[in-house]
């Protein structure tokens, strides 16, 4: 087990390097400059700005310098927010995104798994159909429609929750629901599918035959089997929740890191783009590792030895 873990972690190093190189190349390929704006700036000033960020150097040199700084934990300076380092920008935004992810995750698991279990246990009944129908609605309604609808209902009509902004827990409810619903819908379908798959298997039949109470059969045996697809889905899902949602954070004006995926790319804020892409890649690789380890625990058929 330890050997497996060490091997997996070591494998990540070349992957990470290629990811850095690939995203570096991609960002630099896009046309446009981080310093262009509606009003023309003189060549002399452009030169000064480029020198400040080292953009006047040849690209390979810039890349080497970036990697060297990265190893020291320095992600560089933002061009869009010239008084902030990328480290600082991520450090201020990440807690917000993390809180949002927590609410979204709890909501999606709670609703998704409940609906999935109901669907599986009461297969082909009205319950099943309504749960799956709701899940499909959740999947097919884009968050830029769901978010404004929730605001309309809960903030403007019922005046229960603030429409946007960041402050206390009340600001997290609506964005959390909006973000979580998409994932809840997928989780519901996966849970149901996973459970139905084990429902016909021998060990459930055995458990039932042993006279185990139905509730115990469900919670102990079926759920465990049903969890497998959910776990493999949750890995990348958590990684993308942790790095925020562009749409949800924009609609609710949360100062998290989600919008940077789009805005920093649009602004050609090279170092910020790189920082945010690396953060995502880091979480994704980490979560995939965790998922594989969890698989070993949940499914006795897999052995990492």
């Amino acid at each position: 087990m330890t050997g497996y873990l060490v091997r997996r972690v070591l494998e990540l190093v070349p992957t990470a390097l290629v990811i850095i190189a690939a995203s570096f190349a991609l960002v630099r390929l896009a046309p446009g400059s981080p310093f262009s704006s509606e009003k023309e700036i003189s060549p002399e000033i452009r030169r000064q700005l480029e020198a400040k960020y080292g953009f006047d150097r040849p690209l390979p040199e810039q890349f080497v310098r970036y990697v060297r700084n990265l190893l020291q934990g320095d992600l560089g300076l933002s061009t869009k927010y010239p008084q902030r380092s990328v480290n600082e920008i991520i450090a201020t935004g990440f807690p917000v995104t993390l809180s949002l992810a927590a609410v979204a995750l709890v909501w999606s698991l709670l609703v998704g798994m409940t609906a999935g279990i109901i669907g599986a246990v009461r297969q082909n009944t009205v319950w099943d159909h309504s749960a799956m129908m709701a899940a499909l609605v959740g999947i097919s309604v884009p968050s830029f429609v769901l978010g404004p609808l929730l605001v309309l209902l809960f903030s403007l009509r019922l005046q229960m929750l603030p429409p946007a902004g960041w402050g206390d827990w009340r600001h997290l409810i609506l964005p959390g629901l909006t973000l979580g619903t998409i994932y809840a819908a997928s989780i519901a379908r996966l849970t149901r599918g996973g459970m139905l798959e084990v429902i016909r298997s021998d060990y459930i039949r055995t458990a039932r035959a042993k006279g185990l109470a139905e509730r115990l059969v469900i919670t102990r045996h079926m759920l465990r089997g049903g969890l497998l697809p959910v776990v493999s889905y949750l890995g990348p899902a958590i990684a993308s929740m942790l790095t925020g949602s562009v749409v949800v954070e924009k609609i609710f004006n949360l100062p998290g890191i989600g919008p940077y995926f789009v805005d920093a790319a649009f602004n050609r804020d090279y170092f910020l783009v790189m920082g945010i892409v690396l953060l995502y890649a880091f979480f994704l690789l980490l979560m995939n590792l965790v998922v594989d380890l969890l698989y070993g625990l949940l499914d006795p058929r897999i052995d990492h030895a």
């Binding site: 000033i45 799956m132 379908r189």
Partner: protein
């Protein structure tokens, strides 16, 4: 080993009546209009009870500013903060924008209009240090110094020697700015610009606390961070106390401000909300008293919002137009360019598309600006347009290749472009391809003249026709038309040397007519600002530069909540 399957979704093999799930859809379809219908009883949009004390103001400033450093700031969101935390030599009257004394108590102008002597009032920085003429000299030199890398360095080119310094050809010390003594400042201009005092109230010309920057450097702190709340020293009516990145800023009254006795607010909370719909929601629930000047309301909401009593609208010193690349066939033919302009129904555009009360105009300079009498051409003449097109050899649009129109991604630009596309198709039979480009791509293409028509909005930096006419001069970096005319350049130069205002305006008028004859751009309309202001907020005037100093704002809790009010009771 058995292969492990990861399934993607649940299965559903049963039949269920199609009506069943159509019911769901119908439910959703009913829900939306139900919650969508507005409560029409209130004459105001949302709550009218302040959610804070009477000495506080909650507003929106749309987005995180790039710089709060007056020498480096180049966006309106930063400008809004700088105007309220710094004080320059002159200030603009909150209603008329006429220059009024600020830190300069008075000033003398030389005979030729090129030398100004400012007499400063004794005042202090917020840390108690005296503010002297040297702080202005330092600031103006820093503005043009290429090492500052200011995007607005060119603002300092009004001073003698500024342009050469900006090109890196001379040292900043050669700038025509001099501290005669602690309280006397002398500046020398390149031209006797009649708009100089108005221009001087711009945020680029605020003083900079030299002592703070030097102190930070001594302590080994990056002096670029001097505007952070933990360091900042300023001299305006308000001081920054908190700055939550991309979230909000909190300001408090500056007790050391020279005119502190006339400042009525003690605390101003400034949020940064980009989406106008979100800002509108927050205004409705009372999170904002005023969604801020730079937040534009979506066109779709205009008809609805303009019925409320807290809705206000005023003209704004900015012109919306399309650049024409005059080197690109078929637009290299002036007849085609003029046909395009004549075929635009600008009245329909502002009434049905932009909907914000914009002023339809085929002129580059807004009418009435600083006494300027506009050309007054807002002609929609499709017959003349068709004639011109036929004259150019493309009768009925036959033989005319498709023309492309670029704009940067935005709902508003898209709406205008779609409307014009249809008008040109309908009136002239011209096929127009729309190119929606992401901002940086759009800018790169504009810079490289890689377009045929492209949208532009130009905000006047000061109240003078020259701020618009300069756009078409040959050496203006913002001239994206490939059109240039030595006669035009010379006329403008002569006008700026002219010290008699009436004559100068006449010459500018001639120049504008000359340029529009060639149609290197197609003006569409003059902007307006539409805003919502809670009835209890007083002291906000609609003016054409959209400047609303917080120092003249106060909260009137006894405000009449039933009728339309004008936030204009008395002049400061």
């Amino acid at each position: 080993m058995r292969k492990l399957r990861r399934r993607i979704g649940g299965s559903s093999r049963s039949g269920q009546p199609a009506a069943w799930w159509l019911g769901w859809l119908l439910g959703a379809a009913v829900l939306v209009p139900l919650v969508g219908c507005q409560n029409r009883q209130s004459p105001f949009f949302g709550t009218v009870v302040p959610r804070h004390g009477p000495d506080e103001l909650w507003i929106n400033n749309s987005t995180e500013p790039e710089w709060l450093d007056p020498s480096r700031c180049s966006d309106s969101t930063g400008g809004e903060i700088i105007w309220n935390t710094f004080e320059g030599l002159v200030q603009a009257h909150p209603e008329t924008l006429a220059p009024m004394p600020a830190l300069a108590r008075s000033w003398d102008v030389s005979e030729d209009g090129r030398r100004y002597t400012f007499h400063l009032r004794p005042s202090q920085w917020s840390d108690g240090r005296p503010l002297t003429a040297d702080d202005f000299v330092f600031s103006f030199r820093r503005l043009v110094d290429p090492r500052t890398a200011s995007k607005y360095a060119s603002n300092g080119f009004v001073f003698a020697g500024g342009a050469a310094i900006g090109r890196g050809e001379a040292s900043p010390e050669t700038l025509g700015v001099r501290a005669v003594d602690d309280l006397t400042l002398e500046v020398e201009l390149v031209d006797p610009l009649p708009y100089f005092l108005n221009f001087l109230s711009f945020y680029s010309f605020m003083p900079i606390p030299r002592h703070l920057l030097e102190d930070l450097e001594r302590r080994g702190i990056d002096p670029d961070l001097w505007t952070r709340p933990e360091h900042v020293v300023s001299n305006g009516p308000f001081l920054m106390k908190e700055w939550w990145f991309r979230q909000r800023m909190v300001f408090e009254k500056n007790p050391r401000y020279w005119d502190a006795s006339s400042v009525r607010l003690n605390r101003v909370r400034v949020a940064m909300v980009e989406s106008s719909t979100t800002a509108l929601n927050m205004y409705a629930t009372g999170e904002f008293d005023w969604p801020g000047g730079s937040t534009s309301l979506p066109a779709e909401f205009m008809d609805h919002l303009s019925g409320y009593h807290d809705f206000h609208q005023h003209p704004f010193l900015a012109v919306y137009f399309y650049w024409v690349n005059t080197k690109e066939p078929p637009l290299d033919n002036p007849l085609v360019r003029r046909a395009l302009s004549l075929a635009v129904d600008r009245e329909a555009l502002v009434r049905h598309v932009t909907r914000g009360g914009q002023i339809a105009s085929a002129d580059l300079v807004p009418d009435g600006l600083a006494g300027y009498r506009g050309l007054g051409q807002s002609v929609f003449d499709p017959d003349a347009a068709r004639r011109l097109l036929a004259e150019a050899g493309y009768a009925g649009g036959a033989g005319l290749p498709p023309v492309s129109l670029s704009f940067n991604t935005s709902e508003g630009h898209k709406q205008v472009a779609e409307a014009l596309q249809a008008m040109w198709q309908q009136e002239l039979g011209i096929t127009v391809e729309l190119k929606n480009q992401e901002w940086k791509v759009f800018l790169a293409n504009a810079e490289q003249m890689n377009f045929q028509l492209c949208r532009m909005g130009w905000v006047g930096d000061y109240a003078d026709p020259y701020t618009f006419l300069e756009l078409l001069t040959s050496d203006c970096g913002n001239n994206h038309s490939n059109w240039s005319s030595p006669a035009y350049d010379q006329l403008l130069e002569e006008a700026n040397r002219q010290s008699e205002p009436e004559k100068r305006l006449d010459m500018l008028r001639q120049a504008e007519a000359m340029a529009l004859e060639a149609q290197p751009l197609i003006p569409l309309y003059v902007y307006t600002r539409s805003q919502l202001i809670k009835p209890y907020v007083r002291g906000i005037w609609g003016n054409h530069q959209d400047r609303h100093p917080w120092k003249s704002i106060w909260i009137d809790s006894s405000a009449d909540r039933s009728g339309r009010h004008s936030p204009t009771p008395e002049a400061p």
